[in-house]
């Protein structure tokens, strides 16, 4: 197996994730796209761990999973708060910090 195939897979998923982050209006869906990005990164990490025959990449991926979980928790809490205050989670309407 080539290293590149994993890395390119990771790149594809990352790009799709970026598209999702930028294009989605729904807050929850945005968070899901972020998860996609994180997972792409994880694949990258583990691929490199396999390539260099070390364990560091896997450990790092583990931490990423943990952080992702935390982030999703807080993010969803914020989305809930947003929903509670303005009854919508359409991110295009959340522009009160406009200049």
């Amino acid at each position: 197996m080539l290293l590149n195939q994993f890395l390119l897979l990771s790149a594809v998923l990352f790009s799709i994730g970026v598209y999702g982050v930028l294009a989605r209006r729904n807050g929850v869906l945005l968070l899901m796209s972020i998860e996609l990005i994180l997972n792409a990164v994880n694949i990258n990490l583990v691929a490199f761990a396999a390539f260099t025959d070390t364990i560091g990449g896997e450990v790092f991926a583990l931490f990423v999973i943990a952080v992702a979980a935390a982030e999703v928790g807080v993010g969803l809490a914020m989305v809930l708060l947003l929903y509670r205050s303005s009854r919508t989670i359409d991110l295009t309407t959340v522009d009160r910090l406009r200049g």
């Binding site: 982050v21 930028l22 406009r98 200049g99």
Partner: protein, 754 residues
């Protein structure tokens, strides 16, 4: 001095200057002689009022001691001149070759060559700036020593005379103080080693002259006369300044590594050996000549001298007869190397100096004929005699000029003091209205005045004859049984000199007649003056008789050889700084001819006055001073001539009326108009233009362009801000998009570059 010392160590390696640093104590310390009267000046001003005789005793003591020192110095010089074996000083010059040594190299022909006369030279540095050392010092040679003796002697006699003449005067002490200062200045002038010092002393004597002429300044004519004297001298002093400066730089071009030189010895030595450019010497000579014309009363700057008679008579005797006015002559004699080369006196038949001198003699003599005031007669006589001296210098008869200076000091001082004695008795100077027949009342004065007159007229064997004859011989234009071999053939000057000799005799006869002969026309009882006046008169008269024998001409058959040319031997320098002048051979025929001319003058004037006027007086019963039907009444030409003389050739009109008033009046108005119309107008126009330009600049450029640019940039900023503000949409995903895009671009760049 250091330069000279260094040069002296390497003697024979440069131009010989004819001076030495060695010499007897008196010759080296001759600066003491001016110092004494200077000290007495200070002391008189400080303590004079408290002293029993008002300070005059200090003045007399100082000048007396100075005179004694001067005599001793003279004796020291006589010894030094022939017997000194001191080392001569040389100075390094640019392109000096021993072969073409030039003129003054110390071995003279014609004047009994032999032993050179090394002047005693001594300096001290008082200021240094930019590589140039300014020195003060003394240069003692025969000329300086002779002048020291003359000045101190005449000053001493004048001091004694003044104690009686200005007795009880309102400013007695002040008078004596300035008399001392004048003596000090004149003595400083004659021993000066460099032209700067000479210039300072020159100005100082001018100031003293101003102060002393205006002694009774409360009367306006006196203060006017003092100002006239000073300002006329100032005109000439500009020439002195120019001359000194030109010589300084001209000398600098010949001396390696030095800017220039004020030293008289160096400048003259360089000039005599032909190392200075002729143009520079000519310019310098003309400048110095201007100074001489004003100080020594040469024609057309002489107008101040007659007016200077407003001062006390002893002052006139000392300053305006014997000493100060001869400062110009002295300066020419001192700087003779410069003048000899500058005017090219050797080998021509006319030059500026000789011409001016000759003209002055005639002009002065003519003017003496029409004066009423006895002092003015003597003043014009002085002008005339000064003209003689300058003319003599102009034809190259150096010794003759200096000898005439010597003898003239004595007999002119005698005449002036005599006139003072007369005035003291009759309280007036006007011959025509207040004098006459005084020979009966004032015998001493009469006799000394007569001796002085005969000496002035130049009858043998009195002093004036010897000196005047030597001048006439020196012109080199006689050519009959001698009188040849001078520095040129100045026939015109000879003619002028002869004519003036006759005129001199004539006007002095007139003066003597009007004063001492005929009947007394004044008021009161004139009586002879006291001993303090008559003793100096006799001393001077005695000198007027014997002084001439000091310089008997060479080849004079009636005197032993050792007595011939004593004066010339000791006074004329035979040294590097003196040019090679030739001496004319004396001539019996010229002596006889000049005596005949003089006697002719006396006869003509004597006939007019002693015979015809006397007869007319007896016929009219009163004492007449002139014929009522004399030539001026009969011949219009004569009347016109008289009017010309009476108005002093209208020179005062020219100076005051035309030049001074012209400058004050029309010229000043013209300049004022120019100032107002042109200069002020220009300034105003510039101002208005500036305002207009300013307004235009403000309206167009500042408001539109500059402010426009500034406003535009402001608008651009706010416009850009408006546009860029849209980025801040508040939409998070826009931010995210930009973030991602930027990060990617940067990453791409990083990859590409790295």
């Amino acid at each position: 001095m250091n330069n000279l010392l260094i040069a002296a160590l390497s003697a024979d390696a440069g131009l010989p200057l004819g001076i030495t640093e060695g010499g007897s104590w008196l010759l080296r310390n001759v600066w003491l002689i001016p110092l004494l009267p200077a000290l007495s000046f200070v002391l008189i001003l400080t303590f004079g009022k408290r002293m029993p005789h008002g300070g005059s005793e200090l003045g007399i003591a100082a000048v007396g001691i100075a005179f004694v020192l001067a005599l001793l110095t003279g004796i020291a010089w006589v010894d030094h001149r022939d017997n000194s074996h001191d080392q001569e000083v040389h100075v390094a010059v640019v392109q000096f070759d021993d072969h073409g040594v030039g003129h003054g190299d110390g071995s003279e022909e014609g004047h009994g060559g032999g032993h050179p006369s090394l002047a005693v030279h001594r300096t001290a540095v008082w200021f240094q700036a930019g590589g140039m050392e300014f020195t003060v010092g003394t240069l003692v040679d025969g000329l300086a020593v002779m002048m020291l003796v003359v000045v101190t002697l005449v000053s001493l006699l004048v001091h004694v005379y003044s104690t009686e003449y200005v007795h009880g005067d309102r400013r007695y002490t002040h008078y004596f103080a300035f008399l001392s200062l004048f003596s000090a200045s004149m003595l400083l002038l004659v021993v000066s080693e460099n032209t700067l010092q000479l210039l300072c002393a020159w100005e100082l004597v001018g100031v003293c002259s101003f102060v002393l002429i205006g002694h009774w300044w409360e009367e306006k004519p006196n203060s006017d006369a003092a100002l006239k004297a000073f300002l006329t001298n100032r005109v000439g002093d500009m020439g002195l300044l120019v001359g000194v400066t030109v010589l300084f730089f001209a000398a600098g071009s010949a001396l390696p590594g030095r800017f220039g030189s004020f030293s008289i010895a160096e400048t003259n030595a360089l000039a005599s050996s032909g190392m200075l450019s002729h143009t520079a010497l000519l310019v310098a000579s003309c400048g110095l000549m201007a100074a001489v014309m004003s100080k020594s009363g040469q024609f057309f700057l002489h107008t101040w001298l007659p007016d200077a008679m407003a001062g006390p008579t002893p002052v006139s005797a000392l300053i305006h007869a014997a000493t100060m006015v001869v400062a110009g002559v002295f300066m020419i004699a001192r700087m003779y190397g410069v003048f000899f080369e500058g005017f090219q006196i050797g080998g021509s038949s006319i030059n500026l100096m000789a011409f001016i001198g000759g003209l002055t003699t005639i002009v002065g003599a003519c003017l003496a004929f029409v004066q009423r005031d006895i002092k003015k007669v003597l003043a014009y006589s002085t002008i005339s005699q000064l003209g003689y001296m300058v003319m003599a210098l102009g034809v190259g008869a150096w010794t003759a000029a200096v000898f005439h200076l010597f003898t003239h000091a004595f007999f002119k001082a005698c005449l002036f003091l005599g006139s003072g004695s007369v005035a003291h008795a009759v309280h007036s100077f006007d011959m025509k209205s207040d004098m006459g027949g005084l020979r009966k009342h004032m015998p001493h004065t009469y006799r000394t005045f007569m001796i002085g007159t005969i000496a002035l007229a130049g009858l043998p064997p009195l002093a004036g004859f010897w000196s005047k004859d030597e001048i006439l011989v020196g012109t080199g234009g006689w050519g009959l049984l001698g009188g040849t071999g001078g520095n040129g053939a100045y026939t015109l000057m000879l003619g002028m000199g002869m004519l003036t000799a006759a005129l001199t005799a004539a006007y002095m006869t007139r003066c003597v007649y009007l004063t001492f002969f005929g009947e007394f026309r004044g008021h009161g009882e004139p009586h002879e003056s006291g001993p303090r006046i008559t003793v100096p008169l006799w001393i001077l008269a005695g000198l007027a008789i014997v002084a001439g024998f000091l310089n008997l001409p060479t080849g004079f058959q009636l005197a032993p050889g050792s007595l011939q040319e004593r004066f010339g031997h000791y006074v004329e320098p035979v040294a590097g700084y003196f040019p090679a002048i030739t001496h004319a051979t004396p001539s019996w025929s010229l002596a006889i001819a000049s005596t005949l001319v003089v006697m002719g003058g006396i006869a003509a004037s004597g006939y007019y006055y002693f015979v015809k006027v006397e007869a007319a007086s007896k016929a009219a019963g009163t004492s007449l001073t002139e014929l009522p039907d004399g030539p001026t009444t009969r011949y219009p030409v004569a009347a016109m001539g008289y009017k010309l003389l009476d108005n002093k050739y209208y020179l005062d009109h020219l100076y005051n009326g035309v030049i001074a008033n012209g400058t004050k009046g029309p010229l000043a108005r013209l300049v004022y108009r120019f100032n107002q119309q042109v200069i002020d107008r220009t300034v105003d126009v510039v101002g208005e233009t500036a305002v207009k330009v300013g307004t235009v600049v403000y309206d167009r450029i500042d408001q539109l362009v500059v402010d426009g640019a500034v406003n535009a940039s402001g608008r651009a900023s706010s416009g850009m801000g408006e546009e860029l503000r849209r980025v801040n949409s508040g939409k998070v995903q826009s931010y995210a998009a930009i973030l991602f895009a930027a990060a990617t671009v940067l990453a791409g760049l990083l990859i590409v570059i790295v």
